[in-house]
Amino acid sequence: MLKRDRFLTLRQAADQAAAPFPALMVEADQIAASLSVGIHGRRRAGLGEGFWQYRPYHHEDPASAIDWRRSAQGDHVYVRETEWEIAHAVWFWRDGRPGMDVRSTDTLQTKKDRATLCLMALAKVLERGGERLGVLDETRRLTQGRAGLEQVCHGLYDSAGAIEPVERAGLNRHSRVILASDFLDPPDVWARRLKSLQKEHVSGVLLRLIDPSEDDFPFIGRTRFRDPSGADQPLLLGDAREARADYHARWQRHGEALQALAHGHGFQLITHRSDRPATQAVMALHACLSGGR
């Protein structure tokens, strides 16, 4: 029951985050319709609903393809061609490991919740654009439409978020993947994972979630740092303030390494602090998806 409530609360928050994205508003704002995610013309004739061109009838065309209305205007018989349209497959993965379930103050969301929220909001926007969506977990099923969105949202929320589905993806070529995590594993580990995705011609976005305390390191005085999983020994610092500069340097380097890593494997990196509005992350994600092609 409580879990259901929490889910509804998250859904509401996701609705709010998605509100700035009325269906095709983003598309209309873009200069090129093709830059927007969703059902978008491929600028060539194919299967689709939008008119592309009339061409003279070839005898191999079925009679049902003739546009009688156009043909009646003259002596020639024309066939109406529509523009080829295609919908993307977009996979979501949300890291669910213990490190994600952390927040520095009670007023903030945990990184996991924030990741779920951002992905849900993005899913809503994409769903309105008609994309096929799926959660990269054990079930691994692409869905479409309103009912599909519901499944995706539930999937995102319930997903254990294990790392294995990412490592053994086996996705369709040219699928897009959105990986939401704190990316605190060593950069070479992530390099291996991204490489395997790159081999499958899968590209996408890395959404890196940061708790403010990880970025700012505001600790002073005697502080005992504990591992979220509890597996590791805690670390006791006599004066955390003195460790701050050192930590900042390492944190900076880690971020840069991730940036280089993403760039080298056809991914884009979006860094999002959980004390900033979720809308920022969704907007950035959306911009990456629509502009990065």
Binding site: M100, E214, F219, G221, T223, L237, A240, E242, R250, H254
Partner: protein, 911 residues
């Protein structure tokens, strides 16, 4: 007792606790503060940082020192330190304290009792017995013996100083009784806490030597600046009261103030006084008019709580009660010619005049009786009254001229004397200057006083001495004679203006006032029998309190010689209706200081150094440090990460907020916001007064909207949206025109609102009162129950029906009637607009035609209410509204048009 210089410790063993500080130091150094626990995801990154020496194993040194200091403070506090402890008494001799608890001690009572308490507490600590001797005699005898000091402390706490003086002769007896009692010790440590005042030098010497015979005598005296002060009975002077202040110790210059208080405690006068060094006596004059002087009930030294610093004023100082005898058959003459009238007017200037018949008056024992000719009586009781000390003031008249009687200072000739009449040779006479031995000496004679008629005294050898005032030709005008204890004074003229114009002159009341002085002095010395009962007693601190129930009355014959004592305490005494005061200090009293060379006495000053117990402050300081330590511990644990930033910021903010809060609150209450003012001042707006009845308010608003629309359409006035205002709370000065529908049950205005509206009218505002009843209530005799109180409250000049040529009928349209939704009502404006300060513009227009109803339109411009006379009347109503607005904005500008016909005519005359 263990002492380090001026610092003593009453529990020095606790100081051993200081030995534990080194162990505490080691413990504190060994225990580091608890760390803060955080879950931190990028722990792996953090691990790469080498764990360095930044891990302190112990608390910082300054914190350790802080905590050691805290511990040391607590230990020292537990040792009960005393700063400058009272010198301990040698041996275990019991303690004897002699305390001057008379009125002079009252002045320093707080110091005296503190000193005594300190001594007794010391005795209690060292387990010695103590005894108290009070020098002021009490009515009940005390059981004198050495007791437990705690009992003596109780007795000290219950003692209040007495308002009479010490009797040191009796004190020697007390002393003897004390040391001769059973189980009495032979010697004692003796402290005499004195008031610094000498009563009787011989008695004091005897007492001091008796005291010092039983042990060392410490004589504790107040310092010179605190030595007793006293106030002597005031002396009347022409300009006020002369007050003398005396003091016992003349070594220092000193100053203070004298207060004169009325019955209700109000200060009537305050006058500073000062002593130079060496002076024991100073005098000041309280300058007061007689009226105020009569109301004084007490004269006292300001800020000095002692019975000697108070003089109670009794009957002798009050307005005399004068009885005006009314004629038996009633007074039949006209009021302004009546003798009674002039007598009462003149006497009531300085006395309480009661008009009644003789019997009633005699019961109330007035200090003087006034008998005009019409009230003449030869009653036996009258002569008895005069014999007993009363004053009888008589005026002559036709009855007295016809026949004399025996209540006269001098025999009279029958018939009287008429001067300046048609058949008389003599001119009317004026007054001769008053002789020096007359009570009227010094009064200035007005030149125009003429006597036309008088009764004549029979010349005789005794007459000369009885004449107080004469005419120019030497005939007596006022004669007086002692009769028994009292006086009979006869004016040889009538009290009214028939016989002379003296009663019309200013001299008359002055003469009467001089005579009534006799009555004052007479009242304080009533007959010799009876007894004075005390009604209010003066306590030692100089406050009037209820007397003890068991005080005996003082026989009247002894009262003058009575001095204050335990059985006859100072205060206010009463005999019949007379009141008399018994004051502590009599006339010409002197205060002298206690001799400095009393045998065997060691002199000390009261109020020397006082021991201060330090345990309280030390423990408070330790508590504060403990709280601070808690904060520090929290900071170290990281629970208050922003403490350093937070604390000064927050406290500064709190301080500023505390300082600003009342100010900003006031500012808010006083000032209107700028937006509010701009909204109303930048545009001309009509306004209506909200009645609280929704229908009417809505109609008023719609009416003014309609009128505003028509104004914009027809004239140069383009008003904004009308505003509804709450007349009690909203400011009205922004609006040129105020439409005020008045209900029959309209609430009355508060004074502030009335003031506001008056100010609004004075500054040129126009208020249109509308009773909305077609004028049914205006013009009839019964006032409109809602409007009348409003007009009463605000300052509205006289009103009249609007004249035919009033400017209101021509400010824009030419109108001869002013209908609204209803027609036929009358319109009232200020009757004399030319006389007003607003340049001839009427500030109020009052009618009952429900103009707003005729003007009212809805949002689409459709009329809301049906008008009696159809659309024509609605148009006229609009025209009236336009005229009103023009009138409000232009005032009498269009009044010039009154002359237009004449101007046109003149133009027409030219070819």
């Amino acid at each position: 007792m263990f002492a380090l210089g001026p610092l003593g410790f009453t529990a020095p063993l606790a100081l051993m606790g200081l030995l534990s500080l080194p162990i505490l130091y080691w413990l504190l150094r060994a225990t580091p503060p608890a760390p803060k626990d955080v879950v931190f995801a990028p722990l792996a990154l953090l691990r790469q940082i080498a764990p360095t020496k930044q891990n302190p194993k112990s608390a910082p040194l300054w914190l350790v020192i802080f905590r050691l200091l805290l511990a040391a403070l607590i230990i020292i506090a537990l040792a009960r330190p005393v700063w400058r402890p009272e010198a301990e008494l040698a041996g275990d001799a019991p303690l004897l304290i002699v305390i001057d608890n008379d009125w002079a001690g009252a002045q320093n009572w707080a110091r005296i009792s503190r000193e005594a308490r300190a001594r007794l507490e010391g005795a209690a600590l060292s387990g010695r017995q103590a005894a108290l001797i009070w020098t002021a005699p009490n009515r009940q005898a005390r059981d004198l013996r050495f007791v437990d000091p705690r009992d003596a402390l109780d007795e000290l706490a219950a003692m209040t100083p007495k308002s009479w003086t010490s009797q040191r002769r009796l004190n020697s007896d007390d002393l003897t009784a004390l040391f001769e009692g059973p189980n009495a010790p032979r010697r004692a440590d003796i402290y005499w806490i004195s008031n610094g005042l000498s009563q009787d030098d011989d008695a004091e010497r005897a007492f001091a030597s008796a005291l010092s015979a039983h042990g060392p005598l410490h004589l504790i005296q107040p310092e010179a600046i605190h030595a007793p002060l006293g106030i002597l009975p005031p002396l009347p002077r022409p300009e006020g009261l002369e007050v003398q202040i005396v003091r016992a110790d003349s070594r220092q210059a000193q100053s203070g103030a004298v207060l004169a208080l009325a019955e209700d405690g109000r200060a009537l006068a305050r006058q500073g006084f000062s002593f130079t060094a060496g002076e024991t006596r100073t005098q000041i004059t309280l300058t007061l008019p007689l009226d105020l002087r009569n109301r004084i009930r007490q004269i006292r030294l300001d800020g000095i709580a002692s019975a000697g610093a108070v003089q109670i004023m009794d009957d002798a100082w009050r307005r005399p009660r004068l009885g005006l005898i009314t004629p038996e058959g009633g007074d039949d003459s006209q009021p302004l010619l009546s003798d009674l009238y002039y007598a009462e007017e003149a006497f009531s200037l300085f006395g309480e005049v009661t008009q009644a018949d003789l019997t009633t008056l005699l019961e109330s024992q007035p200090s003087a009786l006034i008998m005009v000719d019409a009230a003449r009586s030869e009653d036996e009781r009258l002569s008895a009254y005069v014999e007993a000390g009363g004053v009888l003031i008589r005026f002559a008249g036709p009855r007295l001229a016809a026949r004399g009687d025996n209540l006269l200072p001098t025999p009279l000739r029958t018939g009287g004397r008429l001067l300046g009449g048609a058949l008389a040779w003599d001119e009317p006479q004026s007054l001769a200057p008053f002789s020096d031995d007359s009570p009227f000496a010094g009064l200035v004679l007005p030149a125009d006083v003429r006597i036309t008629h008088q009764v004549l005294a029979e010349p005789g050898p005794a007459m000369e001495a009885r004449v107080w005032a004469r005419l120019e030709d030497g005939t007596p005008l006022v004669t007086a004679d002692r009769r028994g204890e009292g006086w009979i004074v006869l004016f040889h003229i009538s009290a009214g203006p028939e016989w002379s114009n003296l009663p019309l002159s200013g001299l008359f009341p002055q003469m009467l006032r001089r005579i009534s002085a006799l009555a004052q002095s007479g009242a304080s010395a009533p007959s010799g029998d009876g007894a004075w009962h005390i009604t209010q007693m003066l306590n030692g601190f100089g406050q009037l309190t209820d007397p003890h129930a068991d005080l005996n009355p003082i026989p009247a014959s002894l009262f003058a010689k009575t001095t204050p004592s335990a059985t006859t305490p100072p205060g206010l005494y009463e005999l019949g209706s007379a009141q008399s005061a018994l004051n502590v200090l009599p006339v010409r009293a002197q205060l002298s200081p206690l001799a400095r060379n009393l045998p065997g006495a060691l002199y000390e000053n009261l109020d020397g150094v006082e021991s201060v117990r330090l345990i309280g402050p030390l423990l408070i300081l330790a508590g504060l440090m403990l709280a601070l330590d808690g904060l520090i511990a929290l900071t170290f644990g990281g629970h208050l990460p922003k403490l350093a930033k937070f604390v000064p910021g927050a406290s500064a903010a709190l301080l500023v907020a505390t300082l600003l809060l009342p100010v900003s609150h006031d500012a808010k209450a006083q000032e209107l916001s700028e937006d509010y003012v701009l909204d109303r001042a930048l545009e001309v707006r009509l306004a209506y007064v909200q009645t609280g009845v929704d229908d009417i308010d809505r109609m008023s608003e719609a009416g003014l909207s309609g009128l505003s629309f028509e104004l914009t359409r027809r004239s140069a006035i383009e008003p904004g949206e009308p505003r509804g205002i709450n007349i009690e709370t909203d400011p009205i000065l922004f609006y040129p025109l105020l439409y005020w529908p008045v209900l029959r049950d309209a609430p009355a205005l508060s004074p502030e609102t009335a003031h506001k509206i008056t100010a609004y009218l004075q500054t040129g505002g126009l208020i249109v009162f509308d009773t909305r009843d077609a004028g049914q209530s205006l013009g009839v005799n019964e006032p409109h129950p809602g409007l009348a109180p409003i007009l009463d409250a605000i300052d509205v000049p006289a009103l009249s029906r609007i004249p035919a040529d009033h400017v209101l009928g021509r400010t824009f349209y030419l109108l001869s009637e002013y209908p609204g939704r209803l027609s036929g009502g009358e319109v009232w404006v200020e009757a004399d607009p030319d006389g007003s300060s607003r340049d001839g513009t009427s500030g109020v227009v009052i009618g009952g035609a429900d103009w707003a109803g005729a003007w009212a339109v809805d949002t689409r411009g459709r009329a809301l209410a049906a008008v009696e006379g159809g659309e024509y009347q609605r148009e006229i109503a609009y025209r009236f509204g336009v005229n009103l607005a023009m009138y409000a904005l232009t005032g009498n500008y269009k009044a010039d048009q009154v002359h237009v016909p004449a101007i046109l005519e003149r133009l027409g005359e030219q070819p």
